[in-house]
């Protein structure tokens, strides 16, 4: 039904636009995620100096920074609804799919903004080689999609629990571990300027992971939300 899918897009966009307006008013989640990213980056590069790390270590450090920054801000979209008591109103006005897609896109924009600021700084601070920039950016984009796809559902789960902060990373880590393993490996290969054939398996995996995670979380979200 075309009318319903058009409604889905515009309603999802309405949820997204509402969250963006709210965020621009307070900048709470963006500040948290950005400051966390920059702080960990500074700690890492300060303690290592210009010691010329291997691509493997650089890739691992980069994704550690990304993982913890994501952990510090991405849960906010749902916690905010529960804390301000607006979850019920949202539940009445839009169906779960729209809400979930809106929140997912919001988290994606949030993490992309943070990545766009932290990644150049990472290259400046650590003096990492940038040989295969287009593929590095492709891996980065897939990583951001995968991170958001997997953590947004977890964020909705922990918004209903009583200890939110610590639980978010505890629940997210097992789900993200397969993603992080192949992200580190793919990033390492792009930094080493390896030929495309060597990391095509990882790229396929990243695409599959993102698709499966987004689909599964849309299917499961209504069970969390209607609880």
């Amino acid at each position: 039904m075309p009318s319903r899918s058009a409604g889905l897009v515009s309603k999802s966009f309405a949820v997204f636009a509402k969250d963006i307006r709210l965020e621009l008013r307070t900048r709470y989640a963006l500040n948290a995620i950005l400051m966390f990213g920059i702080t960990t980056l500074a700690v890492v590069s300060f303690s290592l100096g210009q010691s010329g790390l291997s691509p493997k270590l650089l890739a691992a450090l980069f994704w550690v920074i990304m993982f913890f920054s994501a952990m510090s801000g991405l849960a906010q979209v749902f916690i905010r609804e529960e804390e301000t008591g607006t979850a019920l109103a949202l539940k009445l006005t839009a169906d779960p799919d729209c809400i979930y897609i809106g929140k997912l896109v919001f988290n994606f924009v949030l993490l992309s903004t943070m990545t766009a600021i932290v990644t150049p700084l990472f290259f400046v601070f650590t003096d990492a080689p940038v040989d295969n920039l287009p593929w590095f950016l492709a891996v980065l984009a897939l990583g951001v999609v995968g991170l958001c796809g997997a953590t947004t559902l977890v964020a909705s789960i922990i918004a209903k629990a009583s200890v939110k902060g610590a639980l978010f990373s505890v629940l997210s880590f097992p789900i993200l571990m397969p993603l992080l393993i192949s992200l580190v490996s793919a990033t390492q290969k792009t930094l080493e300027n390896a030929p495309f054939g060597e990391f095509s398996a990882e790229l396929q995996f990243l695409v599959a992971y993102a698709v499966v995670m987004v689909t599964a979380s849309i299917m499961l979200f209504k069970f969390v939300w209607q609880e």
């Binding site: 922990i158 009583s162 505890v170 571990m177 490996s185």
Partner: protein, 212 residues
């Protein structure tokens, strides 16, 4: 059952070593593989009951999912410990991030997180559906780990320890008999433990109802 189990234990120690290269330590595989096998059965059961809970919203299904997850967790720890000892003897270190070590580690993390989540929610129905959603969502990632990580990390696990490439048993008749009786008995023990734990759980529920 106790007699059969004791017989298997005795036989697993007095028969010739299953594998000459590894020596006496290779006897651990009579225990390690059945434990890993039970762990898979238990988590699969927990997953099925979780899905059934989300469909029916019947708290009995959630109770069953919890019992299966708890037993699976216990066997998962046992399999990790025996596997780690085995790894020290055969590969030289307790932990190598071999693909199967990685996936069992993730299973431990998933169910550790599952129990942490259950502990963090007060309302019964809410707890049940959040935990069910989480266990399904987390379990979806495990196949990725099994199919992808082996491409990235070389595996140390022997592929031909039970069947060879022509799908014929590589074990001798004695070893095979002990191994499969051990596997079958472990499965029986698991279902026995499961029904005991379920009965305890039902009694606890009744007691709570009486107190109310």
């Amino acid at each position: 059952m106790f007699l059969a189990m004791s017989a298997v234990i005795v036989f697993s120690f007095i028969t010739p070593m299953p594998q000459q290269q590894i020596g006496e330590a290779s006897r651990i595989f009579y225990y390690h593989i059945p434990q890993a096998w039970i762990c898979v059965i238990a988590f699969a059961m927990s997953m099925i009951y979780s899905i059934r809970y989300l469909k029916s919203k019947d708290l009995v299904e959630d109770d069953k999912a919890v019992v299966a997850a708890k037993l699976g967790f216990v066997f998962c720890i046992l399999a990790t410990i025996t596997g780690s000892i085995f790894a020290k003897v055969t590969w030289g270190s307790f932990w190598n991030w071999d693909p199967r070590e990685t996936s069992i580690f993730i299973l431990l993390l998933i169910y550790g997180a599952y129990f942490a989540l259950r502990g963090a929610v007060e309302v019964e129905e809410k707890k049940a559906s959040l935990a069910a959603v989480y266990s399904i969502f987390a379990f979806i990632t495990v196949p990725f780990l099994i199919f992808v990580v082996p491409r990235i990390v070389p595996s140390l696990h022997p592929e031909d320890s039970i069947v060879d490439q022509n799908l014929e048993f590589t074990m001798g008749p004695v070893v095979r008999t002990i191994f499969f009786s051990s596997l079958a008995l472990f499965t029986v023990v698991y279902f026995w433990m499961y029904s005991l734990a379920r009965r305890v759980q039902i009694l606890e529920r009744k007691q709570l109802e009486l107190e109310d």
